[in-house]
Symmetry: D2
Subunit: 509 residues, 4 copies
Amino acid sequence: MENGDGNEGASAFHMPEWMQIQFADQKQEFNKRPTKIGRRSLSRSISQSSTDSYSSAASYTDSSDDETSPRDKQQKNSKGNSDFCVKNIKQAEFGRREIEIAEQEMPALMALRKRAQGEKPLAGAKIVGCTHITAQTAVLMETLGALGAQCRWAACNIYSTLNEVAAALAESGFPVFAWKGESEDDFWWCIDRCVNVEGWQPNMILDDGGDLTHWIYKKYPNMFKKIKGIVEESVTGVHRLYQLSKAGKLCVPAMNVNDSVTKQKFDNLYCCRESILDGLKRTTDMMFGGKQVVVCGYGEVGKGCCAALKAMGSIVYVTEIDPICALQACMDGFRLVKLNEVIRQVDIVITCTGNKNVVTREHLDRMKNSCIVCNMGHSNTEIDVASLRTPELTWERVRSQVDHVIWPDGKRIILLAEGRLLNLSCSTVPTFVLSITATTQALALIELYNAPEGRYKQDVYLLPKKMDEYVASLHLPTFDAHLTELTDEQAKYLGLNKNGPFKPNYYRY
Amino acid sequence: MENGDGNEGASAFHMPEWMQIQFADQKQEFNKRPTKIGRRSLSRSISQSSTDSYSSAASYTDSSDDETSPRDKQQKNSKGNSDFCVKNIKQAEFGRREIEIAEQEMPALMALRKRAQGEKPLAGAKIVGCTHITAQTAVLMETLGALGAQCRWAACNIYSTLNEVAAALAESGFPVFAWKGESEDDFWWCIDRCVNVEGWQPNMILDDGGDLTHWIYKKYPNMFKKIKGIVEESVTGVHRLYQLSKAGKLCVPAMNVNDSVTKQKFDNLYCCRESILDGLKRTTDMMFGGKQVVVCGYGEVGKGCCAALKAMGSIVYVTEIDPICALQACMDGFRLVKLNEVIRQVDIVITCTGNKNVVTREHLDRMKNSCIVCNMGHSNTEIDVASLRTPELTWERVRSQVDHVIWPDGKRIILLAEGRLLNLSCSTVPTFVLSITATTQALALIELYNAPEGRYKQDVYLLPKKMDEYVASLHLPTFDAHLTELTDEQAKYLGLNKNGPFKPNYYRY
Amino acid sequence: MENGDGNEGASAFHMPEWMQIQFADQKQEFNKRPTKIGRRSLSRSISQSSTDSYSSAASYTDSSDDETSPRDKQQKNSKGNSDFCVKNIKQAEFGRREIEIAEQEMPALMALRKRAQGEKPLAGAKIVGCTHITAQTAVLMETLGALGAQCRWAACNIYSTLNEVAAALAESGFPVFAWKGESEDDFWWCIDRCVNVEGWQPNMILDDGGDLTHWIYKKYPNMFKKIKGIVEESVTGVHRLYQLSKAGKLCVPAMNVNDSVTKQKFDNLYCCRESILDGLKRTTDMMFGGKQVVVCGYGEVGKGCCAALKAMGSIVYVTEIDPICALQACMDGFRLVKLNEVIRQVDIVITCTGNKNVVTREHLDRMKNSCIVCNMGHSNTEIDVASLRTPELTWERVRSQVDHVIWPDGKRIILLAEGRLLNLSCSTVPTFVLSITATTQALALIELYNAPEGRYKQDVYLLPKKMDEYVASLHLPTFDAHLTELTDEQAKYLGLNKNGPFKPNYYRY
Amino acid sequence: MENGDGNEGASAFHMPEWMQIQFADQKQEFNKRPTKIGRRSLSRSISQSSTDSYSSAASYTDSSDDETSPRDKQQKNSKGNSDFCVKNIKQAEFGRREIEIAEQEMPALMALRKRAQGEKPLAGAKIVGCTHITAQTAVLMETLGALGAQCRWAACNIYSTLNEVAAALAESGFPVFAWKGESEDDFWWCIDRCVNVEGWQPNMILDDGGDLTHWIYKKYPNMFKKIKGIVEESVTGVHRLYQLSKAGKLCVPAMNVNDSVTKQKFDNLYCCRESILDGLKRTTDMMFGGKQVVVCGYGEVGKGCCAALKAMGSIVYVTEIDPICALQACMDGFRLVKLNEVIRQVDIVITCTGNKNVVTREHLDRMKNSCIVCNMGHSNTEIDVASLRTPELTWERVRSQVDHVIWPDGKRIILLAEGRLLNLSCSTVPTFVLSITATTQALALIELYNAPEGRYKQDVYLLPKKMDEYVASLHLPTFDAHLTELTDEQAKYLGLNKNGPFKPNYYRY
């Protein structure tokens, strides 16, 4: 879900040094891990995204709950089962409703349940998972269950769990160990409870961030003997897997689902095209028409931002380091400039590079009064926010996620989300985008679990193109879209299988 | 501010019967006036729009204030003046800050202050006003003061007053009579306090909705002898003035500022192009890409909605009754259909017609599950919401402004703002749009006040085109836009004055 | 057809001095009339537009025809009729095919034939016409005939007649007096032959440019006693009528069809949106992507040009003198500049102002090498082409309609159509646009002919809105567009007649 | 230049059977090679594209030249050199002017001359080339010369040679063997004269179509010992190379420049976005607004066509076989249908699939009257034109490249370019696009020639990404585009070299 990380501008595929984490010092890593912090800060917005489904306010009012740690409570679900640890099992009903609404917007998973149910392609699979616990995740988990898998689950983030959803899953018999507001100790305890079970040993891992994988590597390395594969969604987690692979330490096949085509396009281009408008509107109520905007970086995210703002009547400038992307910007009708050329005149600065210090203090000093600065790209590195925390500048929090930074001469710049990701902090991720991701994960699990011996080695793989195409095809009915089928004659002419894959791996879409 | 009323679809210029109110029965009118109710329901969103300027939460926290009626309080400002009635004079400082921020986004009024200040074009003017009391209004009032006018002011809506702003105005010496949550009796009492003053008699009226005008007609008809003119902003108020004029009862010139070009384009086309996206996102978090949408009505509001949604990747159908607008829709790339043709397949239905019962129960019955229905057009008449309040349908409030209406078979339609105006209920009006309106009002006052004897008779007038152009020109610097001037030779060639007006009245822009 | 004249930028409605022609000196007028020359130069392209219908090459090969003047030939059609004068009656068959193809693309006139045929609304009408003689005009004439009218016709332009079409009309029994390449004397002789007939006197005039009207005024003023009205299409002709009206010399009602809504939108916005691309491509084969363009004037034509080029990936700047249009440009996402600010950097300069000397020699001196300069606005006044005809500059004709003007230092600017209208010189007018105009003319004739005594006085009128709407409605079936009808209840609510008109006259569309 | 071939729809990368040609039977191949025929038929339009540079008419008037075969003429250039064979050496001056104009629009090659001239990176290179001989090719050849290479050149197409340009090259001392209208025997004779020279042996091959490569394989296989590499531009030629490679017969490294990113985007997306409009307008003069269009295939070409038509106000439907591309179409706002669903209602059918028989006789039978059918995709296979050549249908050629096919009931469909590529047959290729290709070729030659031993083996390679980026960067100055450079700190953070490459090979742009 960390957009920008993946595909943006130059940084896209080269991990910065701070990501090159050694497993040696786990404790330290936990504390200084900026990506992790980045993701935590967005947990609220991810849970907000469950409101995508028009959740009743009631489901969010657990803030006044009792303060007893879930670890200290004795809870059972209605069937007497107590193999779980959630905030309050009594919230199950609220959570169930959330899940039901999410189901309506995740038709691909529901279709998968139906199509694959007869044959139970995950029969015998024992999946341990560590992801955000939201209604959408619940739909994924229950789909995996319907396909034959047993699942145990922890949260990949200490703030992002929706307690009601966790309760509903527990009530349905899923061993879930997660609540909103875990301590660091809780976090690892929950993961351990998923893995370290009497008489049950996982044979598949679904991870988001790599913490679960790391824990097993560190504590239960022998488990890998029975594990058929790892499916990893996040940039960070994928990076760790590539590092393990390079170091020759990866002992099972792993699937990088972050870089599959369909997921990438939705996470970046399509999602950001909408969320840039949403994020700016919700925070500033500004009018887009006639505004001058500079977008730094013309990768997928930048392309989405530029297209949306141009369509709303903004005048958009682009900066780029890559001449090919730069030429694309030209052909799409954007003036390609250096940031310095336009910094004095623009009303909005948006970063989508994946790089660091793209907007420096010097730039900030030269911006005009009321200039809005925000980041759509990567983590919180793109704007040098630290440079603004100096005595001569006054910070004024004017709204949630909106700060005025005031210069001695009275000039204000409007900083959104303190330089963190605008789209995750100030807008929501549509369920449809999450559906793409969840379906990709489900298919990756099925593929790895059922792959014949030898198809996958101890390496990191992309999702096979045919399955990538299948993810897409499962989402077409949402748009009442009708695919054409090749005739036999045409398939022969093209040298293609009628069911795909339809493109070579290097096809650029 | 009631968009759609003015320019939409067919209804645009023909008032429905329920607007054809007799002044005879004032009490009754107050109770049954749907427009008024419509406007009241949007008061919150108008006051929200002041957060356009990133107001601190603090300024909205007066809900826990004491419950004493302002009419029963004895308050003085710091100069000992007590000719006002506001909630709490001590909130003046908060309000001042709001006003200062609004000033930054209303450069046209600030420029007007500077340009016209030397000559004080409103010296001697005694203006009584009745409008929403917001930071933007305050900027207008203080501009009028700077131009030489004396002002007394009441609120045109019992809910829309920002108490802090009212306090700030009172502190600055403006006799303001308004607070949030007035009773109907309070409402008329406040108006009366503005008008019925010992030793002061208004010579100009600035009205929004016609209540002030009505009150003077009813209670102090003799005052019109000294009144040089009325400036009216709202559709409703303008309609009343035309009725008075037709009936031969209008006894002073009136300026209809609602229909000036610049204001219309911003209230309808430009504002709605953005607010349709904002309103839908804030309420439903939906994704626009690939969605099928039908927009009923291709007037200015419809054009704005269609352009925005098309740009975001929606597939848009249009319905129209007017063949010229219909042909425009065709040339702009929209399929022109009857609602029945697409009602089963669309994901969103948006009304912008100004008409009534455009979406009927029959249509609602045929919509597919999860179809979103909302109104951008006029009041609350376009969708037959009443037809949904029947026993067999269940209503579920899932969020503020979002209801699920559930059919016996489980089908849900998602109704936004109960069929009231989405853009006013679920998004905010940018200060820039309000700036256009306020500047238009200020210029209309200047024109009427300074017009030589005989230029205006006892009739309703549009703002002279030259002043309409002036409003536009005052807003160009915001965009760093540089106007070209005609040479003498060119002006002669074109038969134009170099300073405008540049177009005949019938020019369509 | 002279777009830009009508609705562009500032000049739109104020006639330049050279148009203010006195009828006293007819001879002189004919010689110096720039508009006329402008129109002549475009005659070829108008006749090209008949190739819109994929005419066979054969129909244009009459260049090798005999050189005998048609006035000296004795020709009869197959029925023995000789009341016509065309180039060669034998070409009738080719012309008939052209007409048949045009009929397919003018469904509105064909529908009109069907709908009105029963009642023959023009029964008894004797129409004398003076227009371009093209296949589209023939469809109009035969429609008028089908509706009951008798017609006699001359050409309004000495070059624009399609001889085959004239022959086909003569063959069908229409008294047509026109050929391509008339002398001035021929021109007036043809007109006279239409009017001055034994035993036949016109009671309606259909004019394009005002020459026919002028001739009758000058030679046969008594004819006006029987004439029920004049329908005039061109800017020039309309201007003359307004002058006559002002001078109190207009002795019959006249209908200005040039300014009807539907026609204006198609002649300007919709047509130019496509022809700017077409004209530039056909002359220069340039690529639009990434090009910097300045468009002078943001009226309907400018709006069309800007929208098209922006969509093709050009970076577009706009100049304007009118602040309202300027603000529209801003809100549509174009930087508003003075020409001098961008003249050194742009790749293309396009004028759409209706003004004169918008592009001066000074501007031309500062343009960069290979800059393309063209005019979409008005006549040939906008670019100061005369200033380029100086000894130090070399002109090089590199293609039809394309000149390189070469500075001493080798810099070339690329001037299209010698500054005349690009869209008429270098692209074609789609039949659909001509259909709109012809239908408007037909309805105006019907209206004037059938209007009850007293509806129209000796003045110039716009087409009644209801008929304007009818023109639009007749063109909707082309797009398979389905209009919605008001219910009785809705019509009552809106205070409208169910059949229109649907808007007040000042509605801006 | 055969767009669609490369990247379209499904077929993109799988060669149809008829391309799988054996070298055994050369004669036969020459006769039945459809691609070759396809390319020949487009030769005229490629040579037209040189008019891109506003060529004087003179340069095309050699049709009346003497009919003596150039092979039978004795010609010398002004320096007495006779090592060439062109139509008429006296036309050199005309050709030189064409070349000079092309130079102005190929700034990248000119910059390359300057930048690389000092070091002469091609010093010692002996390049034999076989390409279209146009002004743009001449700029490439003279650039290669300026970089130190010796060149000998033949035409890859018997019709596409511009004789004046060939003359100009001969006059400058380039041994060129090519003229317009070669016989097949001439074709191979010319190639042989390039290769088979006393005392000169090529060490580099630049080929377009593979004929030169084939000739050397067949006649002079020993030459490959000295040859450092082959650069091949066309789909067909590239396919042959891959076949040779698979068969283990490729004996030198080869560079596939057809699939470099920059070239692909310009040949397909950017070029077709403009040429679809141009091709339709030039052939039919149709209006795009409101037209219903179905585009078959949503690869790069389809994306370009759809975007352009949508922007012009057409209503666009898309068909696809690949679910990922289908989902992209949905998110871009196009209804995804099967062709049968819309075939009765659309006004235009455009194929961009690379597939065969996408439009069948059955589809053609169901189209409505006046439906336009054209192909932007691949060769002439997409529309089953053969099925229309039956006795019951009448063909009528109404214009160059435009046929009406008439059904017995009178229905006409309008077939463009007999189903061959519209963009090559009916519009021109901008010089800028050709500049991208030529620069790519030059860089590929430099790379292969200078690559250290062992970098390239006997295989087919894509242009290294860094050089692909360099091609792009050389074209940025055309747009006055300013690239941003990474700081050292940023480069380190990203793990990138400051000079690129900036993306991994699988990046999708």
